[in-house]
Symmetry: C2
Subunit: 319 residues, 2 copies
Amino acid sequence: MTAVGWPLSLDDLRMAEAIIRPQIHWTPVLTSRSLDAIAGAELHFKCENFQKGGAFKFRGASHAVLCLSDAEAANGVATHSSGNHAAALALAATLRSVPTYVVMPRTTLQVKQQAVAAFGAEITLCEPTPEAREAGLAAVQARTGAVIIHPYNDERIIAGQASVGLELLGDVRRLNTILVPVGGGGLARGVCLAVAYLSPMTRVVGVEPEVADDARRSLEAGRIIPSQNPETIADGLRTSLGDLTFQVLQEHLENIVTVSEEAIARAMRLVWERLKIVIEPSAAVTAAVALEGLGDLAGQRVGVVLSGGNADLDRLPWL
Amino acid sequence: MTAVGWPLSLDDLRMAEAIIRPQIHWTPVLTSRSLDAIAGAELHFKCENFQKGGAFKFRGASHAVLCLSDAEAANGVATHSSGNHAAALALAATLRSVPTYVVMPRTTLQVKQQAVAAFGAEITLCEPTPEAREAGLAAVQARTGAVIIHPYNDERIIAGQASVGLELLGDVRRLNTILVPVGGGGLARGVCLAVAYLSPMTRVVGVEPEVADDARRSLEAGRIIPSQNPETIADGLRTSLGDLTFQVLQEHLENIVTVSEEAIARAMRLVWERLKIVIEPSAAVTAAVALEGLGDLAGQRVGVVLSGGNADLDRLPWL
């Protein structure tokens, strides 16, 4: 059990990491000379596709579930998610024998719906808008009394995701830049905090699909501008920032780079081909920045966070 | 430099491993609870898809090239191969600034032809039969004076491939069974030798596609029965045994299990989905044995050699 305060301290991040360590993977960092040659930079790929549940989300979900008291856990946990958080929460809850209730947009990939169902969660489908997701979740919570574990706007989740940054900084020294995908912002914020405490000279660059650039627009405008059901192949990045993530990203994120749908597909294919690993489109956005020569990375030592590997193997974006 | 004798001794295998160690990857062994549950066994996947050049072939090729004297290397090296050996040889030769000549069947995957060309090798295409390959290679050798490095019927190659076995036995103790694909038999023989010396209680089971079962038929008949251009998606396993490999496989291979084309495709997809790694059809044959309940593996601790990851990403066998 831990009491996570605001703002999260380095001790909070380390405590969270220690709590989840027994049940998460310390994921490998892969390199490739041929991809370095294409990028003109030294790329260190942090492979969260190898995390349990196939995505970094298991870190935050584990932490949130393990932080609950037995009384809190008794009625189960509930969330809304387009997939990876839901599967991660269901898996983490199962490990503690806690029931899980999930609200998912109807547009969620079948493969992700199946993963959630396979972990024994009860699924409620909703329209693919932020409002419908929140309303659906409120209804489920009223019915079950479950504790809501928001996919990113939750300090416990963010403290868990920060372990991606702790591991990466532990494995690779003197990174000039870390590229991190920005969906709801939980991963980006966790990485920003870890970097701010442990490697302040490293800049953190957020990456979004061009067609789902709500974080870029929000940070420019100085207020949260939600996206409305953006049509990107990076299904994990269709969500909008929350107030907790917005605040820290404003402070710590160097900038946001956006990538086209074509660039995402090309980068995804190239990572599969050269690194021999399966990553999903949402993970490929960071690789796309490096491999398309964006983000001013020339000659740099770059951490590339590959957020997950739950790709739909029946529908590849380059076919 | 090493002088490899016949039969290969444990010292020969260890010397070969020491020679190539500076330029090969010690590839990881991955596990998956969900795949274990499907197999009803404890599976340890030896991931040669992460080897340089994307396949185990780089081990033997490196060893063969590093064993050449400067005088021998002067005119270059030549081989015939349906892909992975050719790319591996070209890469190994490039590292020593030696030219490479490759005879490839016309049916070789474009992706593998391109890989060979990218390493600077000169390619000659031929008909997809053992005879045409040998004839084409003889012509190239007569023209160039290059040293022929046969893809598997060569002691230097086999001593290099044995390092797969040395690494696997070093990483995972008390394996009951090791599943290894059988194409020309170089990898199978290398693994058989390593096991015979270091873990004689472990049985080695060879795996072939049903439609390219020349090793099974040859071992049953007691003489080499070559396959004639078999039509399997496991393109790396279309070759036939050589006399060097045949002899040792007769002695050391427990038996041969064959798998259907459908089983290969299913296993390949399942490995991609659960392990999040890209393997090619030739590598999936071993996984197919485990995941389809073949080979009497129930409750066992099993080494599953995944031989490579050079899959054609534009043509997936399940689509």
